[in-house]
Amino acid sequence: MATTPAPPRLLPSGDSAITVEFSRDIDDAANQRVLALDRAIAREPIAGVTEMVPTYRSLLVHYDPVRVGYDALGARLLELAKHPLPEKAKTRRWRIPVTYGGEHGIDLEDFAKALNTTPEETVARHVAGSYRVAMIGFTPGWSYLSGLDKSLHMPRRQNPRLLTPAGTISIGGVQTGVQCLAGPSGWHLLGRTPVRTYQLHRDPIFLLEPGDYVTFSPIDAKTFADQDRAAEAGEIVAELVA
């Protein structure tokens, strides 16, 4: 690293959590530092820290104030942030099947039109990307991915939908994501995956980890239907590439 990055800001989230903020914006470099601090705490647990929640720009560190105070924990977090832990040599890479367009991706045509291109070209660009799980949040398994091609950036919809299908693959702003459960969304729906990133009676319950890499591979609607049945029965239909 040519220059030492500025230290993160420590922001209290009440008396039992600290927000370690690396950036105010969606920022890939900041997200890498978030994930590096998350790894560092996982490797060297800090007494009293109960869980960490990585996001694009900050790491929320939950702790028990009876076991560790704000000042001592804050100092330790700043120290750990100074020496980012490198990525694990064997970071997982997933290939996630997606059926694009049609009834499974009702916004694909309009999305392509708004970009002055074709649905085929839109899909090709989305499939060409290599993404990293920047954070998982909002609802179980909702995985926010960084690495979206600039030509696919698109503001969120004016009117969010109250219900969008489980497994939706969508784009909102500069982000793309894998949604697990059916629910509200203001993003543009490009397709669906049969992969369940969260499934209660399966091992593992949560498929993706923050920091995992993801690529998408197109499948047709018939393959989607077959894999969807298999996935419902507990099969992991995502492919672990490396």
Binding site: L11, P12, S13, G14, D15, S16, A17, T19, E21, S23, R24, D25, I26, T50, E51, M52, V53, P54, T55, Y56, R57, S58, L59, L60, H62, P65, V66, G69, Y70, M135, I136, G137, F138, T139, P140, G141, W142, Y144, C180, L181, Y198, L200, F206, P210
Partner: protein
Amino acid sequence: MPKLVIASIGPASSVQDGGRPGSQRYGLTPSGAMDRLGLATANVLLGNAPLAAAIEIGPFGAAFTARGGPVRLALSGAQRSVDIAKRPVAFDSSMTVADGEMLTLGFARSGSFSYLALEGGIAGEPTFGSLAVNARAGLGSPYPRPLQAGDELQAVTASGAPERSIDLPAVPDVPIRVVPGPQDDEFSEQAKALFLGSDWKISATSDRMGYRLEGPVIQHLHGHNIVSDGMVNGSIQVPGNGQPIVLMPDRPTTGGYPKIATVISADFGRFAQISAGRIFRFKAISIAEAQEAARAFSELLRTLPDRRRGIENFNIEALRDANVAGSAVNAVDVGTWQSSSA
């Protein structure tokens, strides 16, 4: 084996415990009791683990019937009238309901949530170590949804242990304490002063995800969108309409509105118990003060068992007065008011 049958119950009533923290990094909300002191008190009265699962009962009345044998229970949290087969029973105490008898609870008189614990806890299949209901994620046991009339909970035969009451510290009628941040710099000094200096009410549209506040409009300095970051119980986020929302145990794990302050953990249960429409205020304190309060609250939970006492010390006149508001009580027979199936 006896069971407890729910004869009637209002909305916002579900099985809750200490919740399922630990998977927020996967988007799984922790859930758990709105008022941990209420939950712990009900459990400790029966010798259960303090944060074992119990029935969290919303502001409306409820009724339960013991079937197949006597069932021992305890009640705490929001005060309300209680009777067993029309015999009034003290609040914040254990009680035994004989086979076929009905336990009837009135509306919450102060607060919103009461906790009904069962001796031996609630039987169910934990997910992530918890029976707490999270209806959106389909989690919770024995029913992954709010409770309704006709539901049945497996119980153990009442042990016959002497009934107990508990001396709880008085709930102070003082402002809800908050620690400013994490995004208090998204608000002007004027907006922060307005937040801390105004009367607030909890909207009737509030639920276990969030309490919507009604009061003056709190304006943002730079708009209401921030890049999502993590949230906690008690995070006070301010969306575009300037009316704050306090996040409760069924909240999302992350969110994209600026958070002006956070309710301190020691006051979270007291805040959760504020009933819709009642006026209250916030007060800012330092992290050091908040952590001191957290340690004191933890010590209170730890020492709850020492606060128990035998039930025979009850002042029956006071008990009768307390019950008059909620149910028609006449001719209380001092000798039989407490079920004696033990």
